[in-house]
């Protein structure tokens, strides 16, 4: 996530992380816009932690088993899904698409082979672009402006109380 360290982006990130209302506002605008585009083109399921670019622009959440780490053992010989024989297995397509996508940074092709963490269902129906910017998709939680200070002040007091 190197690009997050650039000046204005890092500033925006910090700002959003400390201003929940601004984040909420952007989410309200951003989500429908993102959903409309991604839903019509890629069948997006609004998981809030987008993997499209890592899977050859195929949404893994459309897999009936919600697999984020590759095809299950039931893919049919013709590449169709075991559950819905009339549909393609999304992972069958994702694999071949990701390996043949032109003009991509090499990194994205390799992502097919990386272990993806479990879905964070807290982020469902939020804007994944925004989550990417704020780092929510990677486990960064929002902070109130003075939370650190408050925590530092509170801790010793709580510890003392517990000892007594």
């Amino acid at each position: 996530m190197k690009w997050f360290e650039f000046g204005p982006i890092a500033w925006a990130r910090d700002f959003l992380n400390t201003h929940p209302k601004a984040e909420k506002f952007l989410d309200v605008i951003g989500l429908p816009a993102e959903a409309v585009v991604k839903k019509t083109i890629f069948g997006c399921q609004s998981c809030g932690q987008c993997l499209l670019h890592e899977n050859g622009m195929t949404c893994p959440m459309r897999c009936p088993k919600n697999s984020r780490n590759g095809p299950c053992g039931g893919v049919r010989a013709n590449g169709h899904c075991e559950v819905y024989p009339e549909r393609w297995c999304v992972w069958y397509r994702a694999y071949y698409r990701s390996q043949t996508m032109p003009l991509l940074p090499g990194e994205w092709r390799k992502d097919m082979f990386r272990v993806h963490p479990a879905v964070n269902w807290e982020l469902i129906n939020t804007s994944s672009l925004l989550n990417e910017l704020t780092g929510r998709a990677h486990g960064v939680s929002p902070q109130k402006p003075d939370e650190k200070k408050l925590a530092a002040e509170k801790k010793p007091a709580a510890g003392d109380a517990a000892k007594k």
């Binding site: 919600n66 697999s67 095809p71 053992g73 039931g74 010989a77 559950v83 082979f113 272990v115």
Partner: protein
């Protein structure tokens, strides 16, 4: 291979380099304990451990953990299957703690068959995790952490496995998916039933090239055929299965009275071929509702008697306070 203190008797056998045989116990579609005890008795001397299936093919059966605790009483080591179909991460972790308390030490992590082809297609799916996430969660619990990072004391030490199907496309990706499982922390792997030895050899070659056989113990899945009809059905209608024409014609040529006998011979022959493949640590015999065949298969394959884990000298003496077995 990691040299860690063995998590279970099955793990001990693997570490001692024994060619392991595992089998499968399907819990009944009722609350009848006698069925489990009967199957456990049948398989106990013919195999080292048995998978206890978790509502396989999405058909309601007795809970795998309950059935496993019964085989523990019988002195037969269970491998519980845990699927992601019916439980979210809270329920799975809680069930695993319970299973550990009941003496279960082996866990097999699966994504699980979809309910659309089961007997309750109206049920809501869960699929909170996938099999690879589940493997990392069980390994995390082994290291003393719940999925959210909270501490478990004492940590449940499981021997964790996964499955792989080399016979489903995209074939090139399958070894890499196995690699993902190794990265997530799987310690043993059971494969889909093998009736196409050539494709499996190809797959194993790639697996060995990736060095995965050194990270995990790989068990080849085999099973007996009951009839030519079953062979044809598996070839044509079961998603993710391949049956070479070799076996189908062989079954078709056999007269009806000898079908079962020939089916067992086919299975034994496949086991013999598996033993020649580098990187295979054992076989997993899936006898779908035909447990009586397993002792015969193991005997004809020359794998009897099964060694007992407590009579083996473990390569690494377990440190004090070990919870293995």
């Amino acid at each position: 291979m990691e040299t860690i203190e063995p998590r279970s008797n099955l793990h001990k056998l693997f570490q001692a380099g024994v060619f392991v045989v595992t089998s499968e116990v399907g819990p009944p579609k009722s609350g009848d304990a006698a069925v489990i005890h009967k199957k456990a008795k049948l398989l106990k001397d013919a195999s080292d451990a048995a998978n206890i299936t978790d509502n396989q093919t999405a058909i309601v059966r007795m809970s795998s953990i309950a059935a496993a605790s019964m085989t523990v009483q019988d002195g037969f080591e269970p491998v519980i299957q845990v699927t992601c179909r019916d439980r979210n991460r809270i329920a799975i972790q809680s069930d695993l703690l319970g299973a550990y308390a009941l003496g279960v030490r082996n866990v097999l992590c699966l994504t699980g068959d979809h309910m659309r082809w089961g007997n309750h297609p109206q049920a809501r799916k869960v699929y909170d995790l996938d099999s690879i996430n589940l493997i990392s969660i069980v390994r995390g619990m082994d290291a003393g952490k719940f999925q959210n990072g909270e501490e478990i004391k004492p940590a449940p030490k499981f021997f964790v496995g996964g499955v792989e199907n080399p016979f489903a496309p995209p074939y090139e990706f399958r070894p890499f998916r196995l690699k993902k499982k190794a990265e997530a922390g799987a310690q043993f792997i059971q494969t889909q039933m093998i009736f196409n030895v050539d494709r499996f050899k190809e797959f194993m070659k790639q697996v060995v090239d990736l060095g995965l056989h050194e990270k995990m113990y790989i068990l080849a899945g085999v099973g007996p055929l009951k009839s030519p009809g079953m062979a044809r059905y598996m070839r044509d209608s079961v998603a993710g299965m391949e049956v070479s024409p070799e076996w189908v014609t062989r079954m078709e040529k056999t007269p009806k009275e000898k079908w079962k006998d020939e089916g067992i011979n086919v299975c034994v022959e496949i086991i013999q071929r598996m033993r020649e493949i580098p990187g295979i640590a054992g076989v997993h015999i899936m006898s779908i509702e035909w447990e009586e065949a397993v002792p015969t298969i193991v005997e004809r394959a020359g794998l009897l008697p099964r060694p007992k884990a407590d009579q083996l000298s473990a390569p690494q003496p377990a440190p004090a306070g070990a919870v293995a077995g």
